[in-house]
């Protein structure tokens, strides 16, 4: 299981769990595991909504670096 999914992956996995539960494919044995996973995924999704990992310094550095490269290749 992907422990660090993107929100798209997390969202899709969450939807899949919902579908599984909906169709009654889940036994009580799996239920706890699935609910645990779903909780983690929901947490990830909610976290993604309210935080961002973007790093301004990194972007600025990247703009400069790739700019430099571009000049070199000219």
């Amino acid at each position: 299981m992907n422990e660090n999914p993107t929100y798209t992956e997390a969202f899709e996995e969450l939807q899949q769990i919902v579908t599984e539960i909906e169709s009654g494919q889940i036994t009580v044995d799996e239920l706890s595991e699935k609910v645990k996973r779903a909780t983690a995924l929901i947490k990830i999704c909610k976290l993604k909504l309210t935080t961002t990992e973007a790093d301004i310094n990194l972007i600025l550095k990247d703009i400069e670096t790739s700019g430099g490269k571009r000049e070199e290749t000219k």
Partner: protein, 432 residues
């Protein structure tokens, strides 16, 4: 009109007029536009075209031609028809649209996949513009706590110079494209002026071909520009653009919330159902076991009573058997003893008789032997006249040869003994 050549200091303009054919200049002439005339014309352009009078447009103008021996032939523009230029601008716009369509890139940006959460936005705007600050305010104060990351790529958004400025920033964004989910072009507060640059082919092309979704919030009330047409989404105003992004977050967050509710509700129900099922099974199990237990209990009780009865019956029967046997023994034992006693006395009698017979026979044979022995007794023989002669050693003499004259011999008779001295010994052979 190729170049307006407006001198801000004097306020006069010296437009450069050209006529082109197949991209080549075939005629060129300088003109003059005095300050007052320019001011009036510019006002009317703003009113009708929503654009200032600018370089590179076709114009229909009224001019006076004068000749000065010093300065030569000159053309003084008195008026320019804004309606004609309006048509020209519209024609330019249509040309851009058709060209993009012809090249198959008109819908290109709309085909780009939009991230599920467009969170990291590369903003092309003017830092101090009202539109940008409105946009930021809405995003930053959204009541759901959604977090956005905006990175400003400052650019001019008005006048002809907006075109290279925006294109340049798009190029910069491309270099760091992996940091972003979407590009937002935000203008605002500038009114409806200077929008014709957004109909420019080069700019529209850059946007149509941009690898990230481009969202526009250019903020005006006139017709949609080509840039807006080719963009992924035209939100029209900066605030609506912000709302659109928030809506995207909603689109993601609402299903998550629904999923959460659904999973909670359904899980609880599954647990409840299972508990009920378990409870029922337990109940059934209990009843079945109890039934089985009581059944076995009854069986054991039945077997116990049967065993007791059977044992009693067996004991009774054995008792009777023993009794019968005792009587039998009592009845038959004396008979057997009597019979045995008879047999024993018979045997004893026979034994006694046989013994007596044997003794008598033995006595007879002893008597006979006695007779015979008596017959042989030397005394009896001696009585009949025979005698026994013994030598000096007391031994019976049977051969005369062993005797010598002079020896003393003893003769035993039936009554008495005679001791003699041998006078002569005659050999046996001599007798013969």
């Amino acid at each position: 009109m190729n170049k307006l050549n407006h001198y801000a200091h004097s306020g006069h303009c010296y437009p450069e007029l050209v006529e082109k054919k197949d991209g080549k200049v075939i005629a060129l002439m300088k003109a003059m536009l005095w300050k007052n005339d320019f001011y009036r014309i510019d006002q009317r352009f703003h009113k009708i075209l929503k654009e200032p009078i600018k370089d590179g447009i076709n114009i229909l103008f009224c001019a006076s031609i004068s000749f000065d021996p010093m300065h030569g032939l000159s053309l003084r523009i008195i008026d320019i028809d804004p309606v004609f230029s309006l048509g020209e601008l519209e024609r330019e716009k249509q040309e851009t649209i058709e060209r993009l369509k012809r090249e198959g890139i008109y819908d290109q940006n709309r085909k780009v996949a939009m991230a599920m959460l467009p969170q990291r936005i590369a903003v092309i705007s003017v830092e101090t513009s009202k539109g940008y600050s409105d946009y930021l305010k809405i995003l930053e104060h959204n009541p759901w706590g959604y977090t956005f990351f905006n990175f400003l790529f400052p650019s001019l958004l008005q006048s002809e110079r907006a075109i290279p400025s925006i294109i340049n920033q798009l190029k910069r964004i491309k270099k760091v494209i992996h940091h972003f989910d979407a590009v937002a072009i935000i203008r605002g507060g500038g009114g409806d002026v200077g929008l014709s640059s957004f109909n420019n082919y080069e700019l529209a092309r850059e946007i149509a071909l941009f690898p990230l979704p481009v969202i526009t919030g250019i903020g005006h009330s006139t017709n949609e520009t080509v840039v807006e047409m080719v963009s992924f989404k035209n939100a029209i105003t900066p605030t609506e653009l912000a709302d659109y992004l928030i809506q995207m977050f909603h689109n993601f967050s609402v299903p998550v919330k629904k999923a959460e509710e659904f999973i909670t509700e359904r899980s609880l129900r599954i647990l409840k159902d299972e508990r009920l099922k378990f409870h029922n099974t337990m109940k059934y199990f209990k009843s079945v076991t109890q039934h089985q237990l009581s059944k076995n209990h009854n069986n054991i009780a039945g077997l116990t009573s049967a065993l007791t009865q059977q044992a009693k019956f067996q004991l009774l029967q054995s008792d009777q058997n023993i009794d019968r046997n005792r009587q039998h023994i009592l009845k038959f034992t004396p008979l057997v003893i009597q019979y045995r006693r008879q047999r024993t006395s018979e045997i004893v009698n026979r034994f006694l008789k046989q013994t007596a017979d044997f003794i008598m026979a033995q006595q007879q044979s002893v008597q006979q032997v006695e007779k015979h022995v008596n017959f042989l007794n030397p005394e009896n023989i001696l009585k009949r006249g025979f005698s026994i002669t013994l030598d000096q050693h007391g031994k019976a003499i049977k051969d005369s040869a062993k005797l010598n004259a002079g020896d003393t011999i003893t003769t035993i008779l039936a009554s008495g003994k005679v001791v003699s001295k041998i006078e002569d010994v005659l050999n046996h052979r001599d007798d013969e």
